[in-house]
Symmetry: D2
Subunit: 168 residues, 4 copies
């Protein structure tokens, strides 16, 4: 039966030290919750840090790669899905996640949050960029959750999953 997948999205080359620390902790907590971690799969930034966090506690990690070659994968990805479709793969990232967590902010992350909202997904924002939180909260008041820490993100994800299960 389908396992629960939590997607962690965030900047690659432009991730900040805080983003990386949060991403690592998110990955670790997701694995400890018994969930599968999904990221963009590359060996940089938030994708890489989250995957490493999950592997540090023997979690299962999925990476949805934008290209078709094996060179750019994070060492911490178990299941590598090669899309060869560039940033259009961002839509697959969010559709395949039961809950989407955005950790930090870049143009790619903004596209993923927006595609997630378009796909009726619930999105948790963990970022110190105050403006982006207000922007997205206005765009979709009922589907955006603003949190202040990785722990709070996980508690919020758990609450969303409980509610969605209740809907079934």
């Amino acid at each position: 039966m389908k396992k629960i997948i939590i997607g962690v999205m965030g900047p690659g080359e432009k991730a900040t030290a805080v983003d990386l620390k949060n991403a690592y902790e998110l990955g670790k907590l997701i694995a400890q919750s018994g969930w599968v971690l999904l990221t963009g799969g590359r060996n940089v930034g938030v994708m890489n840090a989250a995957s490493q966090g999950a592997k540090s506690v023997n979690g299962l990690t999925v990476g949805i790669l934008p290209d078709a070659n094996q060179q750019a994968i994070s060492e911490a990805v178990d299941i590598a899905i090669f899309t060869d479709m560039g940033n259009a793969r961002n839509n697959i990232n969010v559709l395949s996640s039961d809950v989407v967590i955005a950790c930090g902010l870049g143009a790619g992350t903004v596209s993923e949050v927006a595609l997630a909202l378009k796909g009726k997904k619930q999105v948790i924002l963990l970022s110190d960029d105050e403006q982006s939180k207000v922007f997205f909260k206005n765009l979709s008041p009922e589907n955006i959750y603003v949190v202040e820490s990785a722990k709070e993100a996980i508690a919020t994800a758990q609450a969303i999953l409980n509610t969605n299960l209740g809907d079934c």
Copy 2:
């Protein structure tokens, strides 16, 4: 030889009356400038209004559809491209446009602006949503152009095209 394509992106069902008026004028001015108009191709909102504006002066219109069926196409689309890939087609919209104009704002439009920035495209924002202008201008100061009218959008597109040609 490849014709110049200007993409107009904006809300479908949720477009405002102002968005629709701007979209129609954009389509008309794009056609009058001798450019091809590209939209998301559906028979609603900004896509439909821009295509109608272009056809009102015998322009050429391309629609990149999210689905595979012929029912939902704007009557004003000449060239219908069926992707059957949902919102992932938003990436094709922006990659195929020499300049992207966002007219109004919804989650889909936000994803297109973000994907355009990710793809190194220059993006013109025509919207009365002040917050989104500030948000995107901060995200990419050098590639976002904020304008107040359809006419100003077209003048800006022309200036961008002139600069890009100069680069070649």
Copy 3:
């Protein structure tokens, strides 16, 4: 209103002299019939020859490119659609064509014929490879049309379009 689009698919680098001659004539006849030509858009093989044939009589040509850069486009493509999704774009080629004509045969062409059948499209085969004709005719007896010349392909396309219009 949506124009009629005829797709011509065939080998790129591996096209034979006969394939190229047929492709050029197909492009020319498609344009002379008042239809839009759609190809994979690259500046080699059947795609390029068909587009040149169409332009020789002032036809309109659409190219669905597998990548995101402007370097590899056929000079004879008017409307360039950049998918950046590699061979997955083959599905867009066939879904966007009212009738698909396969001219010659390579692995990419085989994928396009198969995706066209999967998408309930009618496919015309123009090839001197006898085995492939038998193979596809067996795979889908009612949707595969085997022809011996470009002229016969166009007559068959016209007959298919007439039937489909009659269905509406």
Copy 4:
């Protein structure tokens, strides 16, 4: 580190009893070899049978779905990837597989074999359709392996993996 993924492709609704038996055994043997099974993920045909075979011995199963909804997934899929891109997802199936095994034959399977060859993948054919074996063997003599049983397919996959590792 990336796990080895073996893709099993084959008909959905049109799978024969022999296809289903072979698929189940393939899934079981893939899991027993310590590999991850990848399929198209739907709850019919070869996809479903292979996934059930893998789960019968506690294997790990990945399903790459053509749509975005949770209704049509095989119960035996652990990791569901929602692409919402119809048959274009066939390209992802083959690019993400270290070795592709085609079990039975339909239009979708033909597209996957062809896309795999286009993507330089090695493909094992397990089918009682003699004509298709000859067709594909001619199309790509060096990358097509024809086998007579699930066991032979697995031995061939192992040999291919050994050779590819030797190349690194």
